[in-house]
């Protein structure tokens, strides 16, 4: 009995060594492969995540010597993990990143932005990839051309059913309020419960119109303009005016992203304010077919030279980090994967999914059979003047104060002047 017990203990003690030895053997087999450590964006329930997994699987099948070792996260979880990994020194070789104040800030701070220019494949149209650094550096390959954040989605059938047509001025939208209310509809729906929607999707368009300067935001962050200048005050007052006119309802501050899209999908609003990416989430076939994508019409007090403009940021995408680029084998494997990821079939699929405005590939022709809503998005991108997106330049506490300030204005808890003064104070701290 005693011997059996000793034997059992010895076997139990040996188990971890056997497991470790097995793991090392597996690691040995794996080490023959080039491993690219990637932080990917998406989840298993959204198109972005599903596509990523499919592409990785297909690429690895074609390239058995390359292992794309990915960690896929979405939304807040992704941003949180980026910060945590960089702070811990656990830098991935490649990641989903941007070059602005939100998507690029942690990479810039960690000095992990790597200039891709020298290594970019000729398939990319360099004219469609904007400069991201002071000397024209390209830190990531955008998924598509500029990312329009201030699209006004119009349900044309619904507008026509009330006896109206596409608005040319803001006053045209105000004129729709009584009929819309009578029909139990909202004129404009916005996910006002999410603070960022006010800044990214509404005020970014308005500030350029009120100032007449497409680069007003970056100048304000640099100190050339003030956030309590008349242009920003007029922007915040316009938000207030929209509520007073009934174009946006007071309850919009209780509508979140999902509810906003559902509302538009269900034909409960004539217009929806959101970014270009939401086009893919309009699933109701009737609403999808009737949807026109447009810039905000002429606003009261709008300056000349910015008619029909939309705010747009550099599209996010995948890029190598300095850490990944430091090893030539990893760098080449990662670039090979990127070329596969951005190839024409995959870019077209992304276009069809409604995830991008247009691919950044040289000589790319939009397929004839693409859905009308996607074609309209491409048309908008090709015709509208681009202006700056606020949170591409303004970040942290001042940006939060601006966004929640807009919510307070809508809820009647603050005046435009109070919000503007608060933002200016925080920016200069």
């Amino acid at each position: 009995m005693k011997k059996a017990l000793v034997l059992l203990i010895v076997i139990m003690m040996l188990v971890p060594f056997v497991v470790i030895a097995g793991g090392q053997q597996e690691q040995g087999q794996k080490s023959e492969k080039i491993v690219v450590d990637v932080m990917a964006y998406g989840d298993n329930s959204n198109q972005e995540g599903v596509s990523w997994k499919r592409i990785v699987e297909a690429f690895e099948k074609q390239n058995p010597n390359i292992d794309i070792d990915d960690e896929m996260l979405y939304d807040e979880a992704y941003h949180q993990k980026v910060v945590a990994r960089l702070a811990a020194g656990d830098v991935p070789d490649m990641a989903y990143m941007g070059a602005d104040a939100r998507w690029g800030a942690p990479w810039k701070e960690a000095d992990q932005q790597w200039d891709h220019r020298e290594y970019l494949d000729p398939m990319y149209d360099r004219d469609l990839i904007p400069a991201m650094g002071p000397n024209g550096e390209i830190y990531e390959i955008p998924l598509g051309t500029s990312n329009i954040t201030t699209v006004l989605y119009m349900n044309e059938d619904l507008v026509k059913s009330l006896g109206f047509s596409a608005p040319e001025t803001y006053e045209d939208m105000v004129a729709m309020v009584p009929a819309a209310r009578q029909a139990g509809l909202d004129v404009v729906t916005i996910d006002g419960a999410d603070g960022w929607a006010w800044g990214s999707c509404l005020m970014s368009a308005v500030i350029a119109r009120m100032s007449g300067d497409r680069n007003w935001v970056s100048k304000a962050v640099a100190g050339e303009n003030k956030f309590n200048d008349p242009a920003m005050l007029k922007t915040l007052e316009f938000v207030q005016q929209m509520v007073e006119d009934g174009v946006i309802t007071e309850k919009s501050v209780l509508v979140d992203y999902g509810a906003n899209t559902s509302k538009y999908n269900n034909g409960e609003a004539l217009f929806m304010v959101q970014g270009q990416w939401v086009a893919g989430a309009i699933e109701n076939p009737d609403v999808k077919a009737a949807t026109q994508l447009m810039a905000w019409p002429e606003l009261p007090g709008q300056k000349d030279g910015v008619e029909g403009s939309v705010a747009a940021a550099i599209q996010v995408g995948y890029g190598l980090t300095k850490n990944g680029a430091s090893d030539p084998a990893v760098r080449d494997a990662a670039l090979k994967f990127l070329n596969y990821f951005y190839s024409e079939p995959e870019s077209t699929q992304r276009l069809r999914d409604g995830a991008i405005v247009a691919p950044i590939l040289k000589g790319y022709d939009v397929p004839e059979d693409i859905e009308p809503i996607v074609k309209r998005k491409v048309e908008l991108a090709q015709t509208a003047m681009n202006t700056e997106v606020i949170d591409a330049f303004l970040t942290g506490a001042p940006n939060d104060a601006l966004n929640s300030g807009a919510q307070k204005i809508v809820a009647g808890q603050a005046t435009p002047q109070e919000v503007a003064d608060q933002v200016e104070k925080l920016v200069r701290q």
Binding site: H79, V83, A193, K251, T395, G396, S404
Partner: protein, 304 residues
């Protein structure tokens, strides 16, 4: 240490060392690192040198209105937990223990059910309840006859903790009820029977027999509630939307998260975030010591 102890020391060490190493690496090291960060200007994301800045971050924190706002909300959560969840849990456990309702198992299961759900899922459910034209607004519209009426408490800094407190009670009361019920079932029936024979009524049995016996359990539950309330992040994060609602419902862990993980404009955000974390630990310890003191003061002879 005598000779026998010295001989057996390696054996003790063999038992303790593995767990101790894991504890030091996973718990103690981050705690000490956080304390170190809070006295420095170091940004781990940027690297480079660090300088000792003394109490700079602590002074900043005490002057930051967001800190006081978050602390106030946290204290409301603590109050809801200690004076809401525990008494209600206790009373519900007593009702079930004394078979005052039929279908005891059903009620027990229903009350404990929220505890099986992920807190983020619960947060999302309650968020839906409070949204524009959501179920709560629907009830208000029905009662007032005003089809445009909305539930707006989430938009007001001085009201937002009321619906959140309600959700907190809904989630956690079942847990305390189970703890109390388990302890109530250890009480000998004969004790209550003899009290009845002596003429004690239900209130007297509850106050004079049940409460004193369970005083230690009440104290432990209070400590759990205080610690859980101060580190609570997930429910409030899940129930609020980013922006005004989350700012209104700001609690210390969310304040720490927003500072350290989102405020890229602040190069010392990690150090400041660590300072807030340390404040959470200090406040927790003060409150636990205080609850111990109160317990001893009112029930000096009871077990703890």
């Amino acid at each position: 240490m005598n000779l026998r102890d010295r001989r057996e020391f390696p054996v003790y060490l063999g038992f303790v060392a593995p767990a101790l190493v894991v504890y030091l690496a996973i718990v103690a090291y981050p705690v000490f690192y956080s304390v170190f960060l809070s006295f420095s200007d170091f940004n781990p994301n940027k690297g480079g040198n660090w300088n000792f800045v003394g109490l700079m971050h602590y002074t900043r924190m005490l002057q930051d209105p967001n800190f006081w706002h978050a602390l106030k909300n946290n204290l409301i959560v603590v109050a809801v937990s200690v004076f809401g969840q525990i008494p209600i849990g206790f009373v519900l456990a007593y009702i079930l223990y004394r078979n005052m309702v039929k279908a005891r198992i059903f009620f027990q299961s229903m009350l404990f059910l929220p505890h099986f759900l992920s807190v983020i899922v619960i947060g999302t459910i309650w968020k839906r309840m409070f949204e524009a034209d959501g179920p709560v607004s629907g009830i208000i519209q029905f009662v007032t006859g005003d089809p445009s009426a909305q539930f707006t408490m989430m938009l007001h800094a001085n009201q937002v903790m009321i619906p959140i407190g309600f959700a907190l009670i809904w989630i956690y009361t079942g847990l305390y009820m189970i703890i109390f019920l388990a302890n109530l079932q250890k009480i000998e029936d004969s004790l209550i029977e003899s009290a009845k024979i002596d003429g004690a009524n239900e209130a007297q049995i509850f106050m004079r027999i049940i409460v004193p016996i369970l005083w230690g359990t009440i104290l432990i539950s209070s400590v759990l509630a205080i610690a859980g309330s101060l580190k609570g992040f997930d429910l409030i994060f899940g129930i609020t939307t980013q922006g005004l609602q989350r700012q209104n419902a700001l609690v210390l862990p969310i304040f720490m998260y927003e500072t350290a993980f989102r405020d890229y404009s602040d190069p010392m955000r990690f150090a400041y975030g660590s300072t807030i974390s340390n404040a959470i630990v200090i406040i927790s310890l003060i409150m636990i010591v205080f609850s111990n003191f109160i317990s001893k003061r009112f029930n000096p002879g009871e077990e703890e």
